[in-house]
């Protein structure tokens, strides 16, 4: 009889520890995923001055486009909360699209090797930003599901883990928000 009770207590402890650790792990993954978004956004911000200079060399009259990109970049580098970062990120993506559209009109620019390598860097960074967002949102989705479903929801308060915000981009075309189903 004692053995059964001891066994039950051990199983219960193992169960509680497993649930607790799962929540903590999910929470850390979400933090890491957000850090990855920031790393990629920083990379993109670092590319911009060079890109603007290169385009300027060929297309001097497009000052308004350059100003839009520079302004969006300044906003993006100063944002801190998830909502602000996401909004600034969406605005910068649009401004960069405008810049690349301008470049289309200048064949010499499009043919220059400097511009081509910058364009490759920019497009891979854009992809990385969007995959980092997707990875973050997937993890937020797992975390939020865990926080709200049995049995992990009983331990969420104890583990101090709460639901997190999705990273939502303003531009409807860039939206990559999974439906959360319970």
């Amino acid at each position: 009889m004692e053995l059964i009770i001891i066994g039950a207590v051990v199983l219960l402890i193992v169960f509680v520890v497993a649930q607790y650790n799962r929540l903590i792990r999910l929470n850390i993954t979400v933090d890491e995923a957000f850090a990855q978004i920031e790393v990629q956004l920083k990379r993109r911000a670092d590319l911009i001055p060079n890109l603007v200079e290169t385009v300027k060399g060929y297309a001097k009259h497009e000052q308004s486009t350059f100003d839009a990109v520079v302004a969006a970049r300044a906003k993006a580098t100063s944002a801190s909360s998830i909502t602000d970062v996401a909004a600034a990120d969406g605005a910068l993506t649009n401004a960069l699209r405008g810049l690349l559209a301008v470049a289309e009109a200048y064949p010499d620019l499009k043919a220059s090797s400097n511009f081509l390598s910058l364009q490759e860097e920019l497009s891979t960074t854009e992809n990385k930003v969007s995959f980092a967002r997707q990875f973050y949102n997937d993890n937020v989705r797992s975390l939020n599901t865990a926080v709200k479903t049995v049995p992990t929801n009983f331990f969420a308060g104890f583990a101090k883990v709460t639901s997190r915000e999705f990273y939502e981009v303003e531009n409807a075309a860039d939206r990559n928000v999974p439906n959360v189903k319970f």
Partner: protein, 307 residues
């Protein structure tokens, strides 16, 4: 949730793998039972561990050193970022989407477009591409192929196929031993008293003869399910079924086949180099490529995120 979205497909293919691995276990158990009925406890209790041991030693070494072994077996050469910056860009994109560590990257000089992944765990992963696949594929297609290979890494397919190969190997060794012993009238006389039931003896004999073929069939079925799973996982990384679908269409249209040095690594390529040689669908390591294309097309029609 729609039937064909990647999450449902991933769950279904994982379920089927567990079922097939369980069937493998059952088959091993049946063979052990047959050995027991036919030869008695004494013989069976020595021979079963020996067979499993042999199979384990054989497969475990190649599993543990898979990243290095496959390099020699395929003639692949490791490359760095400077050799192919664009390829590394696309790989890094998929790495971010998958949350896995960056794999080692290798190139195989070959005129057939193909690719593979190996390595005992995500930290020791290696993905390789033939020179031709890098020439014929555009960025989206390449991204699909890389996502498929990274899916093998994420799903630990080197481990799964090592387990399948060990079981199939143990069964083959075991049934080989036992059928030989039968010809020489081995241990049967010694144990005649303990198991006189002729039906059980015939049943055991049938099991011993059919088991190796059944094991190979199961191993191929597991490989096919893992390929289908990798396609579904790839879509969960890129959310772009069209990229992988177009890549598979390119592979299907191309009739050149990788000049491989060994058939032993045929199952690791994204497109099977043995297609023409397979006896039937049951023995092939990959699902028919047209079927894979159709599944991906169905996912495309579900809309952007497959939700």
């Amino acid at each position: 949730m729609a039937e064909n979205n990647f999450r449902a497909l991933q769950t279904a293919n994982k379920g089927k793998t567990y079922f097939l691995l369980a069937a493998m276990g059952l088959l091993t158990w049946l063979v052990a039972y047959a050995a027991l009925t036919y030869f008695g406890v004494g013989t069976a209790s020595t021979i079963v561990p020996v067979a499993v041991g042999f199979a384990l030693i054989g497969v475990w070494g190649s599993y543990y050193g898979s990243d290095k072994l496959v390099l020699t077996m395929t003639g692949a050469k490791l490359i760095t970022r400077e050799d192919a910056p664009e390829l590394f860009n696309v790989i890094e994109e998929v790495v971010i989407a998958s949350g896995l560590p960056m794999p080692k990257v290798a190139i195989v000089e070959d005129t057939a477009p193909n690719a593979f992944a190996t390595g005992r765990n995500p930290e020791h992963a290696l993905i390789a591409f033939t020179t031709r696949i890098l020439e014929v594929m555009d960025r989206d297609e390449l991204q699909g192929v890389i996502a498929h290979e990274m899916s093998h890494v994420a799903n630990r397919d080197t481990l799964v196929s090592a387990v399948a190969a060990t079981t199939a190997g143990a069964i083959a060794i075991l049934s080989d031993f036992l059928t030989r012993m039968m010809w020489f009238g081995g241990g049967r006389d010694r144990n005649r008293d303990s198991n006189g039931n002729p039906l059980a003896l015939i049943f055991s004999l049938v099991i011993l003869i059919l088991a190796p073929i059944a094991a190979i069939l199961l191993k191929s079925a597991i490989s096919r399910k893992r390929e289908a799973l990798a396609d579904a996982t790839a879509v969960s990384f890129t959310r772009n079924p069209a990229g992988l679908r177009k890549a598979l269409e390119v592979l299907a249209a191309d009739t050149t086949v990788v000049r491989q040095k060994s058939n032993a690594v045929a199952h690791i390529w994204i497109e099977s180099p043995l297609d023409g040689q397979a006896v039937s669908k049951l023995f092939s390591t990959h699902p028919p490529i047209q079927e894979r294309i159709a599944t991906l097309k169905a996912m495309e029609s579900l809309g952007p995120a497959g939700e």
